[in-house]
Symmetry: C2
Subunit: 765 residues, 2 copies
Amino acid sequence: MPGWSMDDDRSDTVVTPSAEFPPLDPAEVDTLRRVGAQWRTGVPRALPVDPTLGRYRSRPAPGRFSRLTPIALFRPEQDDRPEQDDRPEQDDRPERDDRGGRDGLVAAEPANRPDSGLGRRLGRVRRAVLGPPLASAAVLHERMRKLVALPVLSSDLLSSVAYGPEALLTVLVLAGSGALGLTLPLSAGLVLLMVAVGISYRQTIPAYPHGAGSYLVAGDNLGVGAGLTAAAGLMLDYVLTVSVSIAAGMHAVTSALPGLTPFTVPLGVLVILLLLAGNLRGVRTAGNIFVLPTYAFVAAVLGLLVVGYLRAAGRGFAPVAPPVVPATEGLGLLLVLRAFASGAVSMTGIEAVSNAVPAFRPTEWRNARTTLSWMVAMLVVLFAGLTLLIHLTGLVPRPGETLLSQLARVTFPTGPWYAVVQATTALILLLAANTAFNDFPRLLFFMARAGHAPRRFLHLGDRLAFGNGLVALAGTATVVFVAFGGHTEKLIPLYAVGVFLAFTLSQSGMVVHWRRHRGVGWRRRVLVNGVGAVLSGLVLLTAAVAKFTEGAWVVVIAVPLLVLLFHRVHRHYRALHAALALRPPPGGRQPGVRPSRVAAGPPAVSPPAVPPPAVPAPGAGSVEWEEVPQELRHLVVVPVVRLNRASMRALAYAVSLGRPTLAVHLAPEEAEADRFREQWRAWGDHVRLETIVSPYRAVIGPLAHYLAALHAAAPELVLTVVVPEVVLRRPWHRLLHSRTGHRLRRALRALPGVVVTSIPVHVVE
Amino acid sequence: MPGWSMDDDRSDTVVTPSAEFPPLDPAEVDTLRRVGAQWRTGVPRALPVDPTLGRYRSRPAPGRFSRLTPIALFRPEQDDRPEQDDRPEQDDRPERDDRGGRDGLVAAEPANRPDSGLGRRLGRVRRAVLGPPLASAAVLHERMRKLVALPVLSSDLLSSVAYGPEALLTVLVLAGSGALGLTLPLSAGLVLLMVAVGISYRQTIPAYPHGAGSYLVAGDNLGVGAGLTAAAGLMLDYVLTVSVSIAAGMHAVTSALPGLTPFTVPLGVLVILLLLAGNLRGVRTAGNIFVLPTYAFVAAVLGLLVVGYLRAAGRGFAPVAPPVVPATEGLGLLLVLRAFASGAVSMTGIEAVSNAVPAFRPTEWRNARTTLSWMVAMLVVLFAGLTLLIHLTGLVPRPGETLLSQLARVTFPTGPWYAVVQATTALILLLAANTAFNDFPRLLFFMARAGHAPRRFLHLGDRLAFGNGLVALAGTATVVFVAFGGHTEKLIPLYAVGVFLAFTLSQSGMVVHWRRHRGVGWRRRVLVNGVGAVLSGLVLLTAAVAKFTEGAWVVVIAVPLLVLLFHRVHRHYRALHAALALRPPPGGRQPGVRPSRVAAGPPAVSPPAVPPPAVPAPGAGSVEWEEVPQELRHLVVVPVVRLNRASMRALAYAVSLGRPTLAVHLAPEEAEADRFREQWRAWGDHVRLETIVSPYRAVIGPLAHYLAALHAAAPELVLTVVVPEVVLRRPWHRLLHSRTGHRLRRALRALPGVVVTSIPVHVVE
């Protein structure tokens, strides 16, 4: 399936710091070799300074402008690198130590420090918040025991029971308290769905032992489009996991402390920002953090259930009649379907284990599968137990207090138990939100590695966190949270669609997988995953249709738009990759045979009368010149506004390159041009000068067009435009300058074959 | 008075298009000559392309990326320029035609066109609104007859009577209708003030025949600070002239058409934008536009006065009792002073003639003085006539209708005359606002020429308008207008302070001027200007103190802040000028005597073991290298991320310069660095490679610090960093790239001696 991924290591679901530097494939290396054989340099290998800085023992003196922190930045290695011979494979490298090979330098931590005053201050704040940088070698490949993996991976799933049953009842009660009788059959349906999807995922795990994310499974079996659709669904899912979990967590808090209700939105945003900071700091999915709150939540809810059922047993399991709620809508099929789809959000997070298979101890898939079974079992117990108990206790959703809080209050009228239930609920919801902070950037990483998302999501920050992905998630989730005022029940309609989209695609992908591989018992497996796919698909359809007007339309529109965006991104990267790929030299030339017309030494200044015969025309493809140095012919152009130190420096630099040089002066009127030519002669007329009168006083346009005309007149030339650029120390001083150099560079970017060289001129004050 | 102006042509109050290119003074030319004598180039003068494009008859072919409009951009001149000999003064140039000298090229109009698609479309809109560009030669030096000058220069002054009397009464009536009796004595005082200031200005005109703006007169006689203070006052005055005139004009319109009242603010902003567009288009102070409305206004008000006084005569000049208005404030001295200061806004614009002396026909100062006398006489007639008539008619200010409108309605109950008065009033107020659009950018131009305002205000746009100044004025005036809701009476307290500040400083300056020059009758002149200064100063003080809390505090704070800003700007430009000034070479070297150690040809690649002896240490002053090419020694550094076409092109360019070249690769981990070194060897290891492992995955920081360390190790080297820069066609694609080249350039700007060369790599799609 070409086009699905740009690199071959797709099945490798391990995050690597060098993903930003994908290796060349053998064909590319071969092209590289053939291109290299064409090169004639003639430049001596001896450099005027030792590049290994081996003799560089003292601290680098900070220049007046560099304001470098005076610290040793580089650890020079033990011995100088010998001149390379041409053996291409030189792999017998002895005992390299971990901190850098024999050949290279290693940048010490301070080398990353910004060197402006403000930048340094911000850097210190950053360090205080995020901690010191972590080296690439510290990438964690933690392996989890099942008892640790269970809480780590289940917080998202189990926390869903804090809002799932309530979501179901909230819809049902719209048809009046009479409709609440449907709670139990609907819940039974949901439990069935949970078991079916759970079994379905159990089958997926051994088939994809390197990780069975929906993006991967769907893409692998159903094609790029399906994979990207699943990814879009998952991305929305992660954003909503954060928003919904924080909203539900805040609701758990305000149920216990109603005084905080007016501060729901600011407090929720604060929590998102804290989660962001924590994740930027790289608080890893270290088991310990998760173990206690998750087990505490399970214990608290189980305690609640035991006490509640004991009380119910005391009255012979006779259901308490719920308060009479008037119907605001008729009890139609649509309402029932909406209720079912709302309740289905209890299943969000069920896919966590299949994503994380490689994080288990060996045998990974077996341990993962067992953990999944436990998780689903716990989910069923908690969900069914809570729903039934709520029914028996005769509770209905009401604004201001969650159902779970009502249940806890009724069950534990006195003592600290109520507070424990609420606190553990809020805590596990926080952890559930944190799960999204782990998974969203990873998904973006894999997508970026396949070229479907911006490359910047490949970058591991100095704390080994995917900073860009984290910020993107936190930003989007904050917008959603604020836009919905932090109301859980308003967010629920959006939630189910993305999740079940991913479930459906993943299960359908597995059906295709089994049909393709036809291993032992493949028919049974097709059946199991087929049932999972059909059920998930039905819920997806239900959610999308029944809750369309309540907010699901946002997701229905967003998913195709996102997929389109991913496609566009991929197309761009593919085109760029193709455009930048090295092309083998034409077959006629034998590698190693030097073309006769090429001079041996450094390219001499050729007289203009003899153009090289084989130079390609510009505009043919995107070649501006051949990629071999001996064919380049130069013309250096120096725009000069005024004869001062800045322009003298630019002229001196240009002339010192030893290539034909032309100075260009732009004047607003002829009188000024005359004056300038006189000054030029006074200076000694060392460089050929051309003046251009710009009667409309524009500077950039005429200069750019003049250079374009020069280029058109001699397309084989490389025009190097040398521009002095005054470096100002204070940002506000920039307002006092027209930044001609900057604007010129921008204007010249569009011209092929025009190279811009900036000569910095530093000015005190 | 050194420091007052940076150039000597301060007394030249003519706007020149080449003010952005100030000439070198003789000392600077001499230094230039001595610097030039040190230069050894060795570069052949023959260029590989004809820079005059003389053989370039066909249209330049647009490259695939340049998207140039395929038009002939340059008019090549008749004959090629002969090689210059060394005669420095070669002034016997024969009959140069107006469109460009024999030596240069002239950029045709299309050369200024932007070359991006959006830019071209915006350019077309711009052309449609503003008209075709105007050549520098079209700068207008119009001379005005007195009868034309009078309306041109008096619209600002005479329009003030539309709101001046009302401003006076609005304050007085706060003390109840009883206080209105003070109107006549206060008006008498104002008339006296007008006459005194008028006479005072009459004296200024002959003393400053090149233009006697307050900025100039105060700066010339009282020092820089006073000049800048006057300038700050004037600038605020101009902004308020626009705001107040538009507000009063809108009030005149809504008085006649009350239905428009809710749209005051948007309509006012629209008018300001139209004025801006008109002035950007370069609607000059062509007399004809002004003549009719001004004379029509004067005629309409005179008609109003005649009819009004006839009616008053009919009732024996018995004043009609004004309606009883209850007092809201006590009648104290402060209130009276406030009323007086408010009425004094009638005098705004009296300085217009003295600014414009050179625009009169000869003898300029005499004609200007006569015109001033006429203007003041007309002002006195209109102001006194209106105030008295309002008093006789028993009118009081009331919200929703201007006093002038009330007066016109009472005087002309029927017929079209009321409409004529209102229409001419609105029109002259519009012209008054336009006056500020003429004067504000001119003031900024002169300030910028002396280095007290940003240089960009020197730039004459392609319609010969000071676009930056116009936009600055329109923007500020819009903010003020909107902030005050378009209410004239709320703007008045701010208005008087700036005006009278400028008056006071200008008159005081004249006192000093006469005392210094001691011509015939200097004592009398000192007395006259002294009286003017004292009276203006009293009004200034009154306005600042009495209306402080009503808004004058804004001006009282803004003026010193502006002056401080002007000083800072000036200091920056002076420092920059000094830093960029050429310094003569040390006396030891005789010009023309070649230092023995310098090679003759293009600088050879020197071995690193022999550093040149006389290289200055970096950080000593702001010299990065001597400004002579033969002393420059190069090291070219190419950061390489991945071996593709982009990096090949950068490497080829670097090597083709024929200077020692070093490639640097940054890797996030050692494994990647090893992989890269293998590829490098496969390519042929043509260039010395250094790898740096960046264990914290930062790219820019370590690279910048490595270069800084290289620079510290060999400060005499010029490091040229060659960076490939992928040019993307669609702006949104930039989001998909980390723009390393851009960030690297920014980081390297701070390093002395590091030159950055951008190699554009164009990519289709």
